[in-house]
C-alpha cells in the first residue's frame, strides 16, 4: 500500500468540506480526483499533502502515519505538489526558480554560504545539475535563462512540474495542471505525466478537463459534496449512474 487516506474528514466551522473519504493512491499509476466545483477536491488534496490537518482520519504513506507532519517534512519523505496558480519568482530566470527545489536534499547553512565552503560549492553544483536535469525532463532546456515572467502559461506549468520534480519525489500531486492552457498544450502535459509515471513517479491529480482525465487516468475517484461517490477505472466511472447524475449529466452548472 502506497498512500492511503483513511476516513478523512475536514470541517471548516460548520461546513464539512471532506466527509469520511477513503482512498488509496496506487504506486506507479496516474490517480485522478474529479468532481464538480466545490466538491472538496482541493481540500482533499491539501489534507493528503499535509497543507491541512484533518478534523479526523489518517493519511498513511508507505506504512507511516503522516497526518500531522508539517508539509516540509512530508516533502522530505518524497511527496511533492504543485498549485493551481503557479507562484514563480518572475524577476528571476527559469533555472534560478528551479534550483531551490533541490534545497531540501542539501545541508549547507548560512555560514557555508558566507564562507563558500567546499560543502557549499558541492551542493550548489548538485542543485544546479538537478535543476538542469528536471528542466530537461519537462522539455524546457531551451528557455532556462529566460525570466520566469516572460514565458508562456504552459511553460510556467512545466516549470512548476520541474520544481516539484527537483525535490526527488516518489509521488507528485498536481492541482489542476491543465487549467488555463489550450488543448494542444494539454496533450503535451498529459504526455509529460505519462513520462513521469514511466520514470517510476506516481502521479495524483485534480482536473476539470474530463476528456483528458478519461484518457489519462488509471484510477479515478469522484467526489461530490465532500463525499466519495465513485471510484474505479475511467470506464467504470463513465457508466456509473451516480456520477452521471452528479457531474457529467448535470447541466451547465458543473
Amino acid at each position: 500500500m502506497f498512500i492511503e487516506a483513511k476516513n478523512l474528514t475536514k470541517q471548516f466551522g460548520g461546513l464539512t468540506a471532506v466527509k469520511d473519504v477513503n482512498f488509496e493512491i496506487e504506486k506507479g499509476k496516474i490517480n485522478a480526483i474529479i468532481g464538480p466545483n466545490g466538491a472538496g477536491k482541493s481540500t482533499f488534496f491539501n489534507l493528503v499533502s499535509g497543507s491541512y490537518i484533518p478534523t479526523s482520519g489518517q493519511v498513511i504513506y508507505k506504512g507511516k502515519d503522516i497526518t500531522k507532519l508539517p508539509p516540509n517534512k512530508i516533502a522530505e519523505l518524497g511527496v511533492a505538489r504543485t498549485f493551481q496558480t503557479t507562484n514563480l519568482f518572475e524577476q528571476a530566470t527559469v533555472l534560478d526558480n528551479v534550483i531551490v527545489g533541490h534545497r531540501l536534499r542539501t545541508k549547507s547553512n548560512l555560514l557555508d554560504a558566507v564562507l563558500r565552503t567546499k560543502r557549499y560549492k558541492k551542493e550548489e553544483k548538485k542543485c544546479k545539475d538537478k535543476a538542469m536535469e528536471v528542466l530537461d525532463f519537462v522539455g524546457l532546456t531551451n528557455i532556462t535563462d529566460q525570466l520566469a515572467g516572460s514565458i508562456t502559461q504552459e511553460e510556467k506549468k512545466r516549470v512548476a512540474f520541474a520544481l516539484a520534480l527537483a525535490t526527488d519525489p516518489e509521488v507528485v500531486f498536481l492541482d489542476e495542471p491543465a487549467a488555463g492552457i489550450n488543448s494542444g498544450e494539454t496533450e503535451g502535459l498529459a504526455e509529460l505525466m505519462k513520462k513521469m509515471v514511466k520514470r517510476g513517479i506516481t502521479v495524483c491529480l485534480i482536473e476539470h478537463k474530463m476528456q483528458m482525465i478519461m484518457k489519462l487516468a488509471d484510477k479515478i475517484m469522484v467526489l461530490n459534496y465532500g463525499e466519495k461517490i465513485a471510484e474505479g477505472s475511467s470506464e467504470e466511472i463513465m457508466n456509473n449512474q451516480d456520477v452521471i447524475e452528479a457531474y457529467l449529466g448535470g447541466d451547465a452548472s458543473a
Binding site: 508539517p70 498549485f83 528571476a92 534560478d96 534550483i99 531551490v100 508562456t152 502559461q153
Partner: protein, 343 residues
C-alpha cells in the same frame, strides 16, 4: 562574459572612489555625513535581507540598532571592556535578543508582523528611556570611547574612522552578496515568493525565517555599535520610531530587495536631507511625495528602475517576441471556457 567584467570593473572603480573620497572632499563635515550614512547603510542592509529578500517587514530595527549602540556604550563605559570585545559582544547581545523576539514575532505574518514589530520597537525605546539606573535615561550615555588601536593603527582621526566604517560596510555588502547568491538566499526568496510553496518543496520556513531575522538584527546591532563609537554619545531617541521610518525610506528609495539599494538610498537621502537643512521639517514636503512617486512607479526603487531600463534596452536589442506571449495567453482563456461548456 563581457557583462560580468564590466560589472566588476565598475565595482572596483566604486571602491577606489570610496577610498580616495577623503582626499577629494577635504571637508570634515561632509566626511562625517558620509561616514554616518555608511553606518545607516549597514542597518538598512540588515533590514533589506529580512524585508526585501524574505518578505517580512520588521519595524523593530531601530530598537535593535539602539540595543547594539547601548550594549557597546554600557560595556565600554560602565564595564570598561576593550572596544573590540565590546563590539563583538554588542552584536551577540543584539542577535540574542533578536532570537527571542523573532521566536514570537515570526508567528505572525504580513501586516500583523509589521504591527507587532512596531510595538516591539517602541517597547525597546521605552525600556531604554525609562531604565534610568542602567541606561542613564533621557540624559543618555556620554564618553563612549572611539575604537581602540589595533597594533599601530589608531582610529582617533575622522579619516581613519571613515576607513574603518567603510571596511565594515564593504564586509557587510560582501556577506550580503554571498548570502543572496547562495542556496540559503534562494531559500529566503522562495519564502518571500510564496511561503506555502516553499514549505511544499521541503523548506522549513520557521527555521529559515528565524535565521534571517537574527541575521538582520545582527547587522542592525553592528550598525548601532559603530554609531555609538562614532558619535561617542547616545540617547534613547536613536531607538525611537521615527528612526525605523528613516531606515525604511532609505531602503524604499534605494531599492528594496536589491543589493545596491541600501547604500544608494541611504547616501542619497542623507546627503539630500543635509543639503536641505535650511528647510527644517518642511523637508518632509519634498520627501513624502518623492517616496510616494517612487513606490507607485518603481516599487524596487532607484536600483530597480535602473535594472528595468537595462532590461528594456537589452530586450530591444534581442527583439523579444512579446506578442506570442499575449496570444497564447488569450487563447488559453477561450479554450478554458469551451471546456467548461463541454463538461
Amino acid at each position: 562574459m563581457p557583462a560580468m567584467t564590466k560589472k566588476s570593473i565598475a565595482l572596483i572603480v566604486l571602491i577606489i572612489g570610496a577610498m580616495v573620497i577623503p582626499f577629494i572632499i577635504q571637508n570634515e563635515y561632509w566626511l562625517h555625513i558620509l561616514t554616518l550614512s555608511f553606518i545607516w547603510s549597514i542597518a538598512v542592509y540588515g533590514l533589506n535581507i529580512l524585508a526585501g529578500y524574505t518578505g517580512y517587514l520588521s519595524l523593530a530595527h531601530a530598537g535593535f540598532f539602539a540595543i547594539g549602540a547601548y550594549a557597546l556604550g554600557l560595556l565600554t563605559v560602565k564595564a570598561g571592556l576593550n572596544y573590540w570585545v565590546a563590539l563583538i559582544l554588542a552584536c551577540i547581545i543584539t542577535s540574542g535578543i533578536g532570537l527571542l523576539i523573532g521566536l514570537v514575532a515570526l508567528r505572525t505574518r504580513e501586516h500583523f508582523f509589521a504591527i507587532y514589530t512596531l510595538c516591539v520597537g517602541y517597547v525597546i525605546y521605552l525600556v531604554i528611556d525609562k531604565w534610568d539606573s542602567l541606561t542613564g535615561g533621557v540624559r543618555g550615555l556620554i564618553g563612549i570611547p572611539a575604537p581602540s588601536n589595533i597594533g599601530p593603527i589608531s582610529f582617533q582621526s575622522a579619516i581613519s574612522q571613515y576607513y574603518l566604517i567603510l571596511f565594515f560596510l564593504l564586509a557587510t555588502v560582501v556577506v550580503m552578496y554571498r548570502i543572496v547568491h547562495s542556496l540559503t538566499g534562494r531559500t529566503f526568496i522562495a519564502i518571500r515568493n510564496s511561503e506555502e510553496l516553499a514549505q511544499t518543496i521541503g523548506i522549513s520556513t520557521m527555521k529559515n525565517k528565524l535565521t534571517v531575522f537574527v541575521l538582520s538584527t545582527f547587522f542592525a546591532g553592528l550598525a548601532g555599535a559603530l554609531y555609538a563609537s562614532f558619535i561617542r554619545f547616545i540617547g534613547p531617541d536613536i531607538g525611537y520610531t521615527t528612526i525605523i521610518f528613516d531606515l525604511l525610506t532609505y531602503l524604499l528609495v534605494g531599492g528594496i530587495g536589491t543589493l545596491a539599494g541600501p547604500v544608494v538610498g541611504t547616501i542619497l537621502i542623507v546627503s539630500v536631507s543635509q543639503s536641505l537643512q535650511f528647510l527644517q521639517d518642511y523637508r518632509m514636503l519634498i520627501f513624502g511625495p518623492m517616496l510616494t512617486l517612487i513606490i507607485i512607479f518603481y516599487p524596487r526603487g532607484i536600483v530597480g528602475m535602473v535594472s528595468e531600463w537595462k532590461m528594456k534596452w537589452f530586450n530591444k536589442k534581442k527583439k523579444a517576441p512579446a506578442e506570442t506571449w499575449k496570444s497564447t495567453y488569450s487563447d488559453s482563456e477561450d479554450v478554458r471556457e469551451d471546456k467548461v461548456k463541454e463538461g
